[in-house]
């Protein structure tokens, strides 16, 4: 694996002098601190970045959420306690965004919930189907696997533009539907269709990733279990229900939690695809946070921070479940 190519040589020629210069102070530190305490020096840059760009923001987020006004500087922001949260959560009927003070927030919440439910359900379903098919006696498995995986690498904006181009009024899909006698449609102008296509686009772009994980899970199931089942003349459906599904359950759980964590954070591709519209039909929670804090005027940083704390709470729970699931898998 560690072949030395021409590229390595070039990299070494650039990096080696830098590393040699860094070595001089590092030797000094090693003398002063001793070998084991030197570990902190190695950790320092990374911890500094974590502290400054991950932990400090979490604390500041609370500070923002409890202050009002449109000033970005914390000392210039008036304390308003939990007003931001009250404003977000104030609803006569939480099921109906029209009765809420911050109706856009609740529209985004319900859109996100619907989106995550549909997207995760459809995506995991198709990923499982694809993984099972790929796990069968298939020629050119590597080729097919990479075909499904390919869109994972595309940038969200590119994915959005590809499908916008496919779906536009005089686009290729409408041409096909016209030819088939069904008739075309102006898809992204219709709220329901825009939502449905957003789900589709998201499934299209990400299912390869989950297929890959599920396929790895399937291949980890020992072959002799299946051979024994074949000897007992178990039907394929029975084999699937009684062997494949139970043995794949831990992987399925990992995939579900991962998909949920990512689904809740959906923003990029749908924002580039529909801009959240028509109206607010495809506005999700992260877009709400972005628009309140950065795109609107005045910039409601407090409201934005309060909303992101609510999302963070959901994500922390999901991530804890993920860590717990992973731990169980490793130990089990």
């Amino acid at each position: 694996m560690a072949q030395r190519g021409a590229g390595d040589g070039l990299a070494l020629r650039v990096i080696a002098p830098v590393m040699r210069v860094v070595e001089i102070p590092m030797i000094g530190l090693q003398r002063v601190l001793g070998i084991n305490r030197l570990a902190w020096v190695f950790l320092l840059p990374n911890l500094l970045l974590f502290g400054l760009f991950a932990f400090l923001p979490v604390i500041l987020n609370v500070a923002y959420a409890t202050t009002g006004g449109a000033n970005v500087l914390l000392e210039a922001r008036p304390q308003i306690g939990l007003d931001n949260f009250e404003r977000l959560l104030d609803c006569a009927n939480h099921l109906d965004p029209n009765t809420c003070r911050e109706d856009k927030f609740w529209r985004a919440v319900w859109n996100t919930l619907w989106f995550v439910t549909l997207q995760v359900g459809i995506m995991v379903g198709f990923s499982l189907l694809t993984a099972i098919v790929l796990n069968g006696k298939i020629r050119a498995r590597g080729f097919f696997r990479s075909v499904f995986f390919f869109p994972v690498l595309l940038s969200p904006v590119v994915v959005a533009l590809i499908w916008k181009w496919m779906l536009q009024r005089n686009g290729v899909l409408n041409a096909f539907l016209d030819w088939a006698g069904i008739g075309g449609y102006n898809w992204l102008v219709d709220a329901n269709w825009a939502f449905a296509w957003s789900v589709f686009l998201s499934v299209w772009a990400h299912m390869g990733f989950y297929t890959l994980i599920l396929l790895a899970g399937l291949q980890a199931i020992p072959r002799d279990v299946y051979e024994a089942a074949t000897m007992d003349r178990a039907s394929p459906w029975r084999v699937f229900r009684r062997i494949t599904l139970p043995l794949l359950a831990p992987t399925m759980l990992v995939v579900l939690v991962l998909a949920l964590i990512k689904g809740v954070q959906t923003f990029d591709e749908v924002y580039a695809f529909t801009g959240g519209g028509p109206g607010t039909a495809t506005t999700f929670i992260i877009q709400y946070i972005y628009e309140e804090g950065f795109a609107g005027s005045p910039r409601l940083f407090g409201l934005s921070a309060a909303a992101s704390l609510l999302v963070a709470a959901v994500l922390v729970v999901l991530t804890l479940v993920q860590l717990w699931v992973n731990r169980k898998n490793v130990n089990g």
């Binding site: 070998i35 690498l153 533009l161």
Partner: protein
């Protein structure tokens, strides 16, 4: 006839194809079509002229209407083949169209005007790649600037990330020190703090550091990733400690052990992380959208997104730019496919 059929339908086990195999291949072929066709369609469309893009129904390949320059007319005239009526078989140039009739002339005899029903003619076209769509990107748009911004961010962020993450992973895998477990927990803790939920304070910190509207404001905050630290630490744990002890006997400094022994031995893991980092940075959207608000700082992704608003009708440039944006990732994919698949499977994404 039987033999090629036998060959095609033979399976690894030597048995005939079962109907489930047919269903499997059918499903996979449908998948290939669904996954590839939109991209192929995008690339083909990016070579069409603006006029060809407006055509409905669209043609699969890029065509251009053939034209002819006739003396006495400033503009080149579009050519048509006459398929019916009294001029059947001739190739005529259209002067203008009035309702269902077209006024045409024979390029060889430009004096005489002929009237042809438009149901009796078809466009004369030829396969042409409209490479001017791409040339335009370099002339009319600051494509090279955006490309440079994206490349700069991707390269710098990847280098910084590899350096800091590998140093931290080295410390966490090869040293016994007080507080190691605490640091590991801290790293796990950052897994729970995706950028999407700390946008506002992150924006403040980046502005206070003077990195608002600077490429560094995109590069630095994303440089330390828990995923990277874990991936490298897991790999470094497999490197035997005896190698380090031997190097220490030879009076090598700890820094030298890090970059002359640990780094080269971790090359496979570093390669995986590098590819992932390149992909994340190149495709990054939300954070650059917040930090970079001036168009001279735009990355390719931001430029694409803002152009699709501005150039609502000018698909030709937009499509060409989309193709050029996905090209680097497509190339990386083709050459390093194996690394990417294993890397992503082992880290569970971002």
């Amino acid at each position: 006839m039987a033999r090629p059929w036998d060959f095609l339908t033979a399976t690894r086990g030597g048995a005939r194809l079962h109907w489930t195999d047919w269903a499997s291949y059918g499903y996979l072929c449908l998948g290939v079509f669904l996954m590839f066709f939109p991209v192929v369609w995008l690339v083909l469309s990016s070579f069409k002229t603006e006029a060809d893009l407006q055509r409905y129904p669209p043609t699969f390949l890029p065509y251009e209407q053939q034209t002819v320059t006739v003396a006495g007319h400033d503009e080149p005239l579009p050519l048509f083949r006459i398929t019916g009526g009294e001029h059947e078989g001739m190739i005529l140039a259209q002067l203008r169209r009035v309702g269902l009739q077209a006024q045409m002339i024979d390029p060889a005899d430009p004096e005489e005007r002929l009237s042809v029903a438009i149901s009796d003619y078809e466009r004369l076209e030829r396969f042409t790649l409209a490479t001017e769509n791409y040339a335009e990107l370099f002339g009319r748009f600051d494509f090279l600037l955006y490309f440079w911004n994206s490349t700069f961010i991707t390269v710098m962020a990847t280098l910084i990330m590899l350096l800091t993450n590998s140093m931290a992973a080295f410390a966490l895998s090869k040293y016994q020190f007080r507080g190691r477990t605490a640091v590991l927990l801290l790293v796990i803790g950052t897994l729970m703090i995706p950028q999407t939920v700390v946008l506002v304070p992150l924006f403040l910190i980046v502005s206070e550091l003077g990195m608002f509207n600077s490429l560094w404001g995109v590069i630095i905050p994303g440089a330390a990733t828990p995923t990277g630290v874990f991936l490298l630490r897991q790999y470094m744990l497999t490197i035997p400690d005896e190698i380090l002890d031997a190097a220490r006997m030879d009076k090598a400094s700890e820094w030298k052990i890090y970059w002359r022994i640990i780094l080269p031995l971790s090359a496979p893991a570093i390669a995986v992380l590098a590819i992932l980092a390149i992909m994340w940075r190149w495709n990054d959207f939300l954070w650059p959208l917040i930090v970079l608000t001036q168009s001279e700082n735009f990355t390719l992704q931001l430029a694409l997104n803002s152009f699709q608003g501005e150039l609502q009708t000018q698909w030709s440039s937009l499509l060409a730019m989309t193709v050029l944006t996905l090209l680097p990732i497509a190339l990386v994919f083709m050459f390093l496919q194996k690394y990417i698949a294993t890397g992503i499977a082992s880290t569970g994404g971002k």
